[in-house]
Symmetry: C2
Subunit: 211 residues, 2 copies
DNA sequence: CTTTGTGAAAATGTTCACAGCC
DNA sequence: GGCTGTGAACATTTTCACAAAG
């Protein structure tokens, strides 16, 4: 059975919500509660969960902690990833220090940049390397995820170095669509911040609420 | 006719792509070309555009510059927004300096924080104010969009100050779902970076490519 | 001959409604 | 009474296929 992409997105939302609820020492949660906290319908929550199994008890709801663990296992079975950031600019800096990544099991190990002034510097415990050494360093440090936080015009260079590397997945903060011509299927998640602004602008002027 | 949200998202992508193509002095573009650059189908491009009008010429394609202008008008008819950022941490800093926002007509005018050490400082031309002064300052400076870049635990406080304010739209970098209890419909765009990592992790381990 | 714009068909995603269980 | 899990109904979105236009 093929899981809809929207379901995966929502499962990640539920997980977040469960973690928050767990901290408040609430043992049980219903699909209704979960739905209210994530702005979807209760049926949707149950349908989404049904793609992966039966996690609840009729008449009772879901055990907050158990469900959180199951969802974490579904979304991140590996539990720990080494991650690099390409582009040690302001955004790269901010992402390196982003506390939630480590909490979720994504460790920013190294950064890459082409600016000789930056190469060799450290951001926290993460060192900045020359982007020319991308493949050897990512392979040596067993880095499987790359976050692209460079200016848009670096597109072609980024595509080349990633294609040649063993990177397994990409988060792309560049507005450009990356084309990685590899036999392996490399998933790419685009996070285009200007796009979000445009969408918001559209929703405001058209009087819509939907995100 | 109701425009699907996915269509709005893609229109923003097409706009980006058109701007890139325009810089390369390419006068005409077909739905096929646009589709290849944005990883959708040509029919999808045409259907999406059809929600807003007829922009092409049969047998010829679309005038790159004209189409870009039309799409910009659709997505951002106002052309200029004053934007504030709540939370002057690393992410707030990076977003303030994010060059693409200004290019797209979104001007980060002020920031807000609760840390007395930060209040009064400047990031570029943007000054950091006490978050307690949110309403008077946003009203005085005619700020209509707020970017929330605070830690998750500020949720309730943020909800309160925005509810009381005249803010018209929100970009939320917090993993929490914000509930603004206002009669006006305030669109909220969530950008949950950990969620993106989880989704990527899922796609890598399940061998999917779809973003 | 190329490419748009668009009804119709197919596929996908969401909500309804309720049986079954606590 | 309260809540999950799920087939069936419904709604939406995407793809197909082609007429019309340059």
């Amino acid at each position: 059975m093929d899981v809809p992409f929207a379901t995966v997105e929502r499962i990640a939302k539920y997980l977040r919500c469960l973690k928050r609820i767990k901290n408040k020492k609430i043992k049980l949660v219903s699909s209704q509660t979960l739905a209210e906290h994530t702005k979807v319908t209760a049926e949707q929550v149950r349908k989404d969960l049904a793609y992966f199994g039966k996690f609840g008890r009729t008449g009772t709801g879901y055990d907050t902690e158990k469900l959180a663990k199951k969802l974490e296992k579904i979304l991140n079975p590996k539990l720990n990833w080494n991650v690099c950031i390409i582009g040690a600019g302001a955004l790269g800096h901010a992402l390196t220090n982003y506390p939630d990544f480590k909490k979720a099991g994504f460790n920013i190990t190294v950064l890459f940049d082409s600016d000789p002034k930056k190469i060799g510097n450290k951001i926290g415990t993460a060192k900045i390397y020359d982007v020319k050494k991308f493949s050897p360093i990512t392979e040596k440090k067993k880095i499987e995820i790359a976050i692209v936080a460079t200016p848009e015009n670096a597109k072609e260079e980024i595509e080349q170095i990633i294609t040649k590397s063993k990177i397994k997945g990409i988060i792309n903060f560049t507005p450009a669509t990356l084309n990685i011509k590899s036999k392996r299927k490399i998933p790419i998640i685009d996070v285009d911040l200007s796009q979000k602004m445009y969408i918001l602008s559209f929703l405001i002027t058209k009087g819509k609420r939907r995100q």
